[in-house]
Symmetry: C2
Subunit: 459 residues, 2 copies
């Protein structure tokens, strides 16, 4: 791979400058005032793909923002991979916390700072440059690479599954490759094999028809905030951290010996991890270590809770309503549709008769996923990582959710290799998001090696 | 009393017009922009007192709004009462819910609508007109009446206790009379014998140093909202409604046979009361009926609770902080200073090690009070009520708090007769506050009879 690696070294400055151009487009998908910028980013991606020699490059319109597709010239008998990524970004707020403007990329101490640097423009860019390198150095890509770069990931990809369903043939592949995750460290390579799913609901507890005077009425009717607290405690045991929703754990796949071994191989230091959170002590499901708790076990978290008087000083009100937003991270083989139904039924069952409870299930949900490390494309990725990092990757479970992975599995019938080059402290969705240029360099080389490994596996 | 009652009838139109003038002054004590209006209301009260023949009428400056004092010409050997009330009012907001402007009094269907109509300008006004009537009809008041009308009741009377302490001799009396409560109905007279005390605190639960991604970190450290719920359930039993703070009930005076008999005599219909709240069912401390629960038993109520994401949609955040505002209504002989210390200690004791908890005690607190219905001035009030309403009053316990009652007991050593003429639906602190003119008419007559009864008791 010396020829390709030399190309990356020679073109490094131009590549970084190009990435800065890409990052300077404020393609914030959630804001209608940025619709033009999002379209501009799509055009930028399409042009780059064409320059890298891809064919049939199309900016596909959707009901929302477009997705860009294209493919390398067909190589008969070679395997086919689908590279998925997104060119849209999170809003940059709070602006005042950025050291340099979110859409004026700045390089400081070998890191490029900008919104989208790691999530996901910077990582999409790696793929573009690998394809460019194969064309420039070798005259073309030795395998079939299809790309699908969307513009709505940060708003939940509302139009992606319909697009994939309508274009199954166009997107048919042996495996999906996604670079939208992180490794454990610059010198601690890892590949994500597990993603948690997500289901969410909002609960409202009501008692009196309006806020009441806590002196005149207090003691005679229920306080919805108190009952909300009771229901929440009825959903999760304070001591064991176990979720008390009947049936919640029924479909959870038990960690086998191989899973436990893989987890044990992941470098992790509880003390350092705890310190990074600032919490006074660890807390989680009894019987599991931190890595299992945040990656391989489901959760029930209150994301927000409110009711009554929240201003300054004292207001002696007996509130009429209390609210909580709940989300649950799920693991294989939990079905988010099933789990959220169980949660709703449990909440309704334990709510006492002296209140009315209303549970609204959020439409958006994501299935958990797990990719067998022995799957061929995964094994090829592991070899590619080892060639560049000089170390075998750990197989990690990401606590977050990338619902599209389960969707690809369902619609295209193929697993996804989550080969990302971010770092844990990249500050995704936060001010001063960055991408480490050491990971940039290792990223292009690893992805180039992955194509080489996939081509070799076929031979 | 025919002479006095005839005077009230003859002067009725002028009196109502004068009350409208008083009510049109926006004496909102909590708003600095109304400081001039509050002073204007004090001057209005002072002028009325002088016209009613009171002597030594003084507008006493304080660190905040002034209080007005004065007394009827001394009658040797006659008993002395101190009439306390307040001329300041709550803010009128939300303005859009008023049918007629809050400070443009309007009479509709025999009710006068304005901010302060019942709380407490309208009721202070009754006393002014009774003193005026005795002077006009009889040449003077047969007993010694001192008045103390303050302008800071709606902001917690911060300067009243220091004033009372500094003027013990000026305010010395046999009993205090306060008209700032309500009766059960126009034809269901009652006198308030019990008031609950009040103590409040604010609690903050913290875990991580900043909000975290619920996917990446969820399951590994505590969720402060969940722990807040656990602590709140640890303070009050979901089934029995009993407060679980050790020592909380130790000083609660048990209801004796006479207390229970008095409570049983209070007209009350659980179904109608429940309907007025709109709650689906009654709920309160096991072993007690509604009237005891809201009047004679202490409470622990969450007035407000908040934390995490409370906007639209889903945000998968693991919040770093959770907050709750708690207030407790107390009954004799609970000491608010002691109770709030017990609450703080209990919360700190049950908070688990995986969070940090901070409990802030609110400076303002009020002691509970109870006046023996057999106390002479109370007995005189009961006879006065019966003369006008043709029915003996019920002795009720008000669930709310008027801390100054306990303060009068402590500083002046005298009990307070809570003889108020509001009605339960007057809408205190709410839009469309009103005072029923039937209660206005019964009020002046009852208070005139009270003076007569007190004078007679002495003879």
């Amino acid at each position: 791979m010396k020829d390709i690696f030399d190309y990356f070294a020679a073109q490094r400055d131009r590549h970084v400058a190009e990435l800065c151009t890409f990052l300077s487009i404020p393609s914030v998908s959630t804001r209608s005032e940025h619709k033009g910028d999002v379209a501009r980013a799509a055009t930028w991606v399409a042009s780059s793909l064409e320059r890298a020699g891809l064919e049939d490059v199309v900016i596909n319109p959707t009901k929302g923002h477009p997705c860009v597709t294209g493919h390398t010239p067909h190589v008969a008998g070679a395997p086919t991979v689908l590279v998925y990524g997104h060119y849209d970004v999170q809003p940059p707020e709070p602006l005042e916390l950025w050291k340099s403007p979110a859409f004026a990329p700045e390089i400081r101490q070998g890191r490029i700072y900008a919104r989208g640097a790691a999530d996901d423009k910077g990582q999409v860019f790696l793929h573009l440059k690998v394809l460019e390198a194969y064309k420039a150095v070798r005259g073309g890509c030795p395998i079939n690479v299809k790309v699908l770069i969307e513009g709505e990931e940060e708003i939940g990809s509302p139009n992606l599954v319909p697009f994939v369903k309508a274009n199954k043939k166009l997107l048919a592949c042996d495996a999906v490759i996604v670079s939208d995750t992180h490794m454990l460290g610059v010198n601690t390579p890892s590949i994500t094999v597990g993603l948690r799913g997500l289901a969410a609901l909002q609960m409202t507890v009501r008692a009196a028809k309006s806020d009441l005077h806590s002196g005149t009425f207090g003691g005679g009717v229920a306080n919805p905030l108190q009952v909300l607290a009771e229901i929440l405690v009825g959903c999760k045991d304070p001591k064991s951290g176990k979720i008390k929703i009947p049936g919640f754990y029924d479909q959870v796949r038990k960690l086998g010996a191989a899973d436990k071994k893989a987890l044990a191989l992941v470098p992790h230091d509880d003390a350092a991890w705890l310190k990074s959170t600032g919490a006074p002590a660890l807390f989680g499901e009894a019987g599991f270590g931190t890595l299992a708790r945040i990656g391989a076990r489901p959760t029930f978290e209150i994301n927000g809770m409110w009711g009554g008087y929240t201003g300054e000083g004292v207001k002696t009100v007996l509130p009429s309503e209390a609210h909580a937003k709940i989300s649950m991270r799920l693991v294989p083989d939990q079905d988010p549709r099933e789990i959220v139904k169980l949660a709703k039924a449990h909440i309704e069952a334990i709510a006492p008769d002296h209140v009315k409870v209303d549970v609204r299930i959020d439409k958006n949900m994501g299935s958990p996923s797990f990719v067998d490390p022995n799957f061929p494309a995964m094994a090829a990725a592991a070899r590619a990582v080892e060639r560049v990092f000089k170390k075998a990757p750990a197989f990690t479970r990401e606590g977050g959710s990338i619902p599209i992975v389960a969707d690809f599995e369902r619609v295209l019938g193929r697993p996804t290799v989550l080969l990302g080059f971010g770092l844990p402290d990249d500050g995704l969705h936060a001010p001063n998001e960055k991408f480490d240029l050491r990971m940039f360099d290792k990223g292009v080389r690893t992805l180039a090696c992955l194509i080489d490994e996939l081509a070799a596996a076929q031979r």
